[in-house]
């Protein structure tokens, strides 16, 4: 039988992995992958709670998950555009070397 705790723990694993990715890695693109993992853990929580909720038609969680997916797609597009702009300006995607506000 599926248990809510298992899903929440799995989502916690996803969140922690994403957080570690953002904190440890210095490559902007890999940090972005960590952000995607974090967003995914939130969406997984929504769907899991929607499944286990006592409500009759528990679809609000699904709707919010779809919103999260759309937001993540928009975020990825803008963030990768920023990464390309940073790469064009600084010649690198190492987060430590991006120090100037006006190049």
């Amino acid at each position: 039988m599926l248990k809510l705790e298992n899903f929440l723990l799995l989502s916690a694993v996803l969140f922690s992995a994403g957080l570690a990715c953002v904190l440890i890695r210095r490559n902007i693109i890999q940090m972005l992958m960590g952000v995607e993992l974090i967003l995914n853990s939130a969406a997984l929580n929504f769907v899991a709670f929607a499944y286990f909720t006592p409500e009759k038609i528990p679809l609000s969680g699904h709707v919010f998950s779809v919103f999260i997916i759309v937001l993540a797609a928009a975020e990825a597009a803008v963030a990768l555009a920023l990464v390309l702009a940073v790469f064009r300006m600084f010649g690198t995607v190492d987060i430590e070397s991006v120090k100037d506000l006006k190049g």
Partner: protein, 172 residues
């Protein structure tokens, strides 16, 4: 679906999610990390379907595995070819174990909270198709967020195009 199949599917998908999300963090090769991200996202889509969220699962596969992953791999290809040899993976000011320790501490906190919390759960489960009901919710209860997010998508698209275009002559 039988109980055993559901359990087997859950633990297989959970193992895949666990291993591949760890792979995203520790993998030094960006393309390998992207493949790990793909496996992780696809397994989460499988979990959605296991939870009866067929529409969300398909959206996850289409948007994430189909769209975002391709974008990320394009980003890797466009930015990492020149200075491949001198990529520094961790910062100098903060030791890398510190970030890992923070993430691990937050995971332990989440674990203790989740294992203590009690939620009112329903007893029996049914899994009808959700697409129709979700479409109705989009156009009734969640109409305003739905329209807002379409406007946001337009803005994100325009912003991305403006950010990556070449400088036009005569532009300041």
């Amino acid at each position: 679906m039988s109980e055993m199949f559901i359990n087997l599917a859950f633990w297989t998908l959970a193992t895949l999610v666990f291993v591949s999300s760890i792979l995203v963090v520790v993998q030094k090769n960006l393309i390998h990390a992207a493949i790990g991200l793909f496996v992780s996202l696809a397994s989460v889509a499988g979990l959605y379907i296991l939870l009866g969220a067929d529409f969300v699962g398909m959206a996850q596969l289409l948007v994430y595995a189909g769209g975002v992953l391709v974008l990320i791999i394009f980003g890797v290809f466009l930015t990492s070819r020149i200075y491949q040899a001198e990529v520094k993976l961790t910062g100098e000011r903060h030791p890398s174990w510190l970030g890992g320790a923070i993430a691990l501490g937050i995971f332990i906190t989440l674990y203790s909270v989740i294992s203590k919390a009690r939620f009112p759960l329903k007893e029996e489960f049914s899994r009808p198709s959700t697409t129709e009901a979700i479409g109705e919710l989009f156009l009734t209860k969640y109409l305003l967020p739905f329209e807002m997010i379409s406007i946001l998508l337009v803005f994100a698209m325009i912003g991305a195009v403006i950010l990556v275009r070449k400088e036009v002559r005569g532009d300041s």
